[in-house]
């Protein structure tokens, strides 16, 4: 046994040696090209969850980034190289990944990450290293706060909450709204908070929100919360949250005989929302970033054509379009800066104005947040259909 073990261990060591040998061998040519010219290659780092709980979201974003890289492989006559690192949907890992991009790969700019809390883990690192970073779909206001080097191409939770409050008030003629929020999700409580604030302001009624119920991620049964809210007799129910729980919640609401419209946020826009909720989610309304039915800008058409060519029969998700936008916004800033220098790119990113992205016109405000239109969609005949566009005032 001992002998077998020692043979095995030595075999393992040899194997490891070969593996690392290969590693260094492959790295050396790329290293030489990299150093021979920080001249011919501009490196853009991508840190996304490719494994772990958020892998699906990360993969969708990377799809968009790669598509953009295929369409625009060059800037200033130099090749753009994407350096993708996995952050394992883990905060500790996310900070190491961001640090690696900055220190080891020496990237000019970074895109990422899906998930606000993962983006926040990179915040201090990119700020200290002064590398501009563009988040595609991180909507938590804290991500860009107090950080001149963090930008995003999506709108933030406060705006989305406001949009839905406006919509409920003006289009659905709601006077009394009940809220069901996923208490363990920063996204859900953020939206609820800002919905509440603007809805109270719109109606001028401090009691316009008739009830608030909480649930946790992974809950299956919502009958207690729903029965409670039903008794309060609201005109509309606002239920931002994860798509699985939300579709179950809507299903149970309909079974309990709640007939009022149920509205939510962009997380609902996944096929599973309809496949779980089926006919119960018919008529559900939510705000999102992007629609493939009605191209918003010429860039949208270009993106859609390319996406459909690569994936016949599949419509792109909003985060894919946002990943695409994050890439082209950085490229645009590099072009205007006429340099791959991080600080110059950051300066140009900060003044991005009326830039045509695939998911709408992008103007970055002083926090680095995108000010852009929201799209309202509804589930009709088992499909997400375009309903309206709400202008960013």
């Amino acid at each position: 046994m001992k002998k077998v073990a020692s043979i095995f261990v030595s075999a393992l060591l040899v194997g490891a040696l070969i593996a690392t040998g290969c590693g260094t061998k492959t790295e050396s040519p790329s290293a030489t090209t990299g150093s021979s010219a920080s001249g011919d290659v501009i490196k853009i780092g991508v840190f996304e969850p490719m494994t772990g709980a958020n892998a699906a979201g990360g993969a969708l974003e990377v799809e968009g980034i790669k598509l953009a890289n295929k369409l625009y492989p060059e800037v200033l006559g130099k090749k753009v190289e994407l350096v993708l690192v996995d952050n394992k949907s883990d905060k500790v890992e996310a900070s190491s990944a961001a640090s690696r991009l900055v220190e080891k790969e020496k990237v000019s700019a970074i895109i990422g990450s899906w998930g606000s809390s993962l983006s926040m883990a990179a915040g201090d690192i990119v700020k200290k290293a002064q590398v501009p970073t563009v988040a595609a779909s991180a909507t938590n206001p804290l991500v860009t706060q107090n950080n001149d080097f963090y930008f995003r191409v999506c709108f933030i939770d406060p705006f989305q909450g406001k949009v839905m409050a406006n919509y409920a008030f003006s289009k659905l003629n709601a006077k009394r709204v009940a809220i069901v929020q996923e208490i363990s999700s920063d996204y859900s409580i953020g939206l609820s908070k800002f919905f509440t604030d603007s809805f109270k302001e719109l109606t001028g009624d401090q009691n316009a929100i008739v009830g608030v119920a909480n649930y946790n991620t992974g809950d299956q049964d919502f009958s207690a919360q729903l029965t409670n809210l039903k008794a309060k007799n609201p005109d509309v129910i606002f239920a931002p949250g994860n798509f699985t729980e939300s579709s179950l919640l809507i299903k149970q609401a309909r079974q309990l005989g709640i007939k009022v419209p149920i509205i939510g946020g962009d997380t609902w826009e996944v096929p599973e929302f309809i496949s779980v909720g089926q006919e119960a989610v018919e008529g559900a309304i939510f705000s999102t970033f992007f629609t493939s039915e009605k191209p918003i800008t010429p860039e949208s058409e270009k993106f859609l054509a390319e996406y459909r060519k690569a994936n016949p029969g599949v419509e792109p998700a909003a985060v894919t379009a946002l990943g695409y936008d994050a890439y082209i916004v950085i490229l645009d800033a590099i072009k205007r800066a006429n340099s791959a220098d991080s600080i110059k790119i950051k300066e140009q990113l900060a003044v991005t104005k009326d830039f045509a992205g695939a998911a709408g016109m992008i103007t970055l405000d002083k926090n680095g947040d995108a000010v852009k239109d929201a799209v309202i969609k509804q589930v009709k005949n088992g499909k997400f259909t375009y309903l309206d566009i709400v202008k960013a005032k």
Binding site: L84, E103, M120, I189, N214
Partner: protein
């Protein structure tokens, strides 16, 4: 002889500090971050090994204790203005919003609070044994996380905290790791430590020898929770941001992996495996990238390193089925024996 060994230990510590000093001067922040993580995982691994490895209590509550330590340290060190910015949804509770203390005191407070929580959880739960204790502690850790999610005016709930001052540096992490090693090491070699080990081997025999089972279990559990709190505080302050989702069962699992790989009941093993696991995960990143072997181009597959890493772990566990060190420790005597009387030691030893 004893004097000589103490001298050697002091020299080793001196060498460690010289290493830390050189690392601090020469390495970039990415490598420093990995080194910091190594030291933090050493602290966490040791604290868990004290409970699981030395006392034989199968506890899975570590993430909960870390959360207590991390939140306490964060709340006590964050400047007022950052607090107001963070708590834009629900204002922070009154005395806490203007409260702050120096980093070390905050860290200590985090450790003590985690120890208190450990005591409160341990007192009832330690009447359970084996798998039942594991389930109970796992449940408590989840409860702590859910409480933190719901106490918005204290912890900012699911939004998490951002902008925690990054006070953790290599002196803190390595210094505290050294302190942890020394404290847990001397605890293990004291009469308490022998009692812990006796409890691990056979509870009934230990009790009949006059060891107060409950008292010793609670002591081990509380001290373990204290160091877990310190480790959590350091981690939060290294990252600069924390949220309740960070302290899921997965975090406990990471620490458990370290002590199982290193050997349940070996300080040396925990130190070695904490370093291997932390550096290994980063060093294997090249597996995720696309590779060119000769003319063959293999496209990068994300997650490949995790597959390889897991396979390596399985191999280690199969061939060293008590972990790298088992219950053995590094001693100066052992080192001398290796160099001086190699044949004799071999003859005398079963190896």
């Amino acid at each position: 002889m004893k004097q000589k060994k103490t001298l050697l230990t002091l020299i080793a510590i001196l060498i460690l500090f010289v290493f830390v000093f050189i690392a601090d001067q020469t390495l970039d922040s990415y490598k420093m971050r990995i080194l910091n993580l190594c030291a933090i995982y050493v602290i966490l691994g040791l604290s868990m090994n004290l409970i699981n490895g030395f006392t034989g209590l199968f506890s899975l509550g570590h993430a909960g204790f870390m959360a207590v330590g991390a939140y306490t340290t964060a709340i006590l060190t964050m400047p007022d203005i950052v607090k107001t910015q963070n708590f834009f949804m629900t204002p922070m509770m009154k005395p806490l919003d203007t409260l702050h203390v120096p980093f070390f005191l905050a860290l200590l407070a985090g450790g003590i609070l985690a120890g208190v929580v450990g005591y409160l959880i341990g007192a009832p739960a330690l009447r359970l044994r084996g798998d039942y204790l594991a389930i109970a502690t796992l449940g408590f850790a989840e409860i702590i996380r859910v409480v933190f999610t719901n106490t918005q005016s204290i912890t900012n709930g699911a939004l998490g905290l951002k902008g925690i001052p990054v006070s953790t540096n290599i002196w803190w992490t390595f210094g505290l790791a050294l302190v942890t090693v020394l404290i847990i090491g001397s605890l293990i070699n004291s009469s308490y430590g022998r009692a812990f080990k006796a409890i691990r081997e056979d509870e009934i025999a230990a009790e009949s020898m006059g060891i107060n089972l409950f008292k010793h279990k609670v002591i081990a559990f509380t001290i373990g929770a204290f160091f877990a709190g310190i480790g959590g505080g350091l981690l939060g302050s290294l990252l600069g941001t924390i949220d309740p989702l960070m302290f899921r069962f997965f975090l406990t699992f990471n620490v458990l992996l370290i002590i199982i790989l290193g050997g349940m009941g070996s300080i040396t093993g925990t130190i070695i495996s904490a370093i291997i696991i932390t550096i290994g995960g980063e060093a294997l990143r090249f597996l995720d990238e696309s590779m060119t072997i000769g003319s063959l181009v293999i496209p990068g597959i994300s997650g490949m390193r995790m597959v390889v890493f897991s396979a390596l772990l399985m191999i280690v566990v199969i061939f060293f089925n008590h972990g790298i060190m088992g219950t053995k420790e590094f001693t100066w005597d052992g080192l001398f024996a290796k160099f001086a009387k190699k044949p004799l030691a071999k003859g005398g030893n079963k190896q």
